[in-house]
Amino acid sequence: MAELSRLGEGVRAYWLIAGMWVRSSMTYRTSFVVTMFGNLLMTGLDFVGILLMFSQVDSLGGWGLPEIAFLYGLSVTAFGIADLVLGSMDVLGARIRDGSFDILLVRPAPVLAQIGADRFAVRRLGRITQGTVVLVWALASVDVDWSAAKVLLVPVMVVSGAAIFCAVFVAGAAFQIFAQDASEVQNAFTYGGTTLLQYPPTVFGKDFVRGVTFMLPLAFVNWVPASYVLDRPYPLDLPQWAAFASPLVAVACAVPAGLAWRAGLGSYRSTGS
């Protein structure tokens, strides 16, 4: 029960801080609109990159454009949600270095909620919007015999994918407590992860696919469940039920990430400056 009330407290603190940042960003309305638009454009660039590739070829790794757009839409939307909720995690290193992390520790609210809501940026909706637009286009253009299970799987993928990415963000934050100046390592897994998932698994080497299926199970964000929806062979010949395992995988990621975060906080020694 204590755990539950602590969760409620965290969510409440998160909303309060996020709301504060939203109000402050609304003060400069033009700037807000411009950065939101810029964000949309920026995240759209990698899809433009894919379109450029398809201006030269008809398929990539045996997958056509609508299918790759499906992967892309799922990956970017799921990542966008995680980025909206916890994307500020990469400022953690800077906060530790300048000593302001200590302030968060003495405030009567869970640190994870505070750091997650830190500089909460509505402009990050740009990525979600862009991902969703591509996803909707992909859903309309892929050649699929839709069944109830397939239809249901799409929102499940987005939510579990977001949760998996959230776990990566939290684990990355825990790592930053140890490594301090290394927020970019986190980028390799977050931005790198979402870039990776925009391409079909057939493009990558077997060992590489193994790594992102069993070690860092990003494959469950879209590759595995999307293979079921699109009637494609599963990467690594996984069993049929694996397509529905994403929520379980998300939980399995969240638990160690949470523990790592706790361990990180417990071992934190202030910079002393």
Binding site: M42, M53, D181, Y199, V203
Partner: protein, 266 residues
């Protein structure tokens, strides 16, 4: 002669400043390597589908990817070099102090940015490139002249890159806020420099346009010089022309901007 030593010292300062962030450099090396691996796989799939895309064979495409990762932070392709400091100094008004220094503003920042570039090249660029060469088939020349030719192209690329970003930074004299312009630098840099997709492989008129823009001097030209796909002298001429145009424009804008500076007493 004396002023030459001053700018050399500024460049050394720029180099040293970035050399202090060791963990950040290591993290950057890791990230560039991961992105390189992802891109190489997609390029290999692409070139499988359409061999000789953009006039490259597979090994050349792979080389292009790793050179891109090597130059990503060296040329501050998505921003984050001296222009970040200039913008911050304009915003806070500290630029007024810089204007009183017995040094040229543009040369000062150029020197500082070149120092940064050289550090990023050695500290951050070389390792992903070597990693790529060890684990993937690359088309690397074996003669010293090609590598020397690359180095010259890289120096010119650094100046062009600075020229673009310095112009962007000066606009803050009028805009007052650097957020939008930094985003602009990022978007144009990522799209037009060929880091997402080689400019040689851009289709039709779009390709003609991007290959004529100054961003083409950053990754496309050095890559083609390294792999013997472009005549070095022609490439240098292209790069140098843009460098001169951009620096001259920066100079004009700078003199217009500094006349606008109002120092607020406090």
């Amino acid at each position: 002669m004396g002023s030459w030593r001053l700018y050399a010292a500024v460049a050394v300062g720029g180099f040293r400043r970035y050399a202090t962030y060791r963990a950040a450099t290591l993290a950057g090396v890791f990230t560039n390597t991961v992105f390189g691996v992802i891109l190489v796989y997609t390029y290999l799939a692409l070139w499988d589908e359409k061999p000789h895309l953009g006039g490259y064979d597979q090994a050349q495409a792979v080389t292009y990817v790793w050179l891109g990762q090597c130059l990503y932070s060296t040329l501050a392709i998505q921003g984050g070099g001296a222009e970040k400091d200039v913008i911050e100094r304009i915003r806070t008004g500290e630029i007024a102090v810089d204007l009183y220094r017995p040094a040229d503003l543009q040369l000062w920042w150029l020197a500082s940015d070149l120092g940064r570039s050289l550090f990023q090249l050695l500290g951050r660029g070389v390792i992903p490139f070597v990693f790529g060469a060890l684990f993937f088939p690359m088309a690397l020349p074996t003669d010293v002249t090609s590598w020397a030719a690359l180095f010259v192209a890289l120096l010119l690329a650094m100046v062009v890159s600075f020229g673009i970003r310095y112009l962007a930074a000066l606009s803050v004299f009028w805009l007052m806020d650097g957020m939008g312009i930094m985003q602009g630098v990022m978007i144009t840099g990522v799209f037009c420099s060929g880091i997402v997709f080689p400019l040689n492989a851009f289709p039709g008129v779009l390709g003609d346009i991007v290959r004529a823009l100054p961003w083409a001097a950053q990754l496309q030209m050095p890559a083609d010089v390294l792999m013997g796909e472009a005549d070095p002298l022609g490439a240098y001429a292209f790069q140098a022309t843009w460098a001169v145009v951009l620096l001259a424009a920066g100079r004009l804008l700078q003199s217009a901007a500094t006349r606008r500076v109002v120092v607020q007493g406090g």
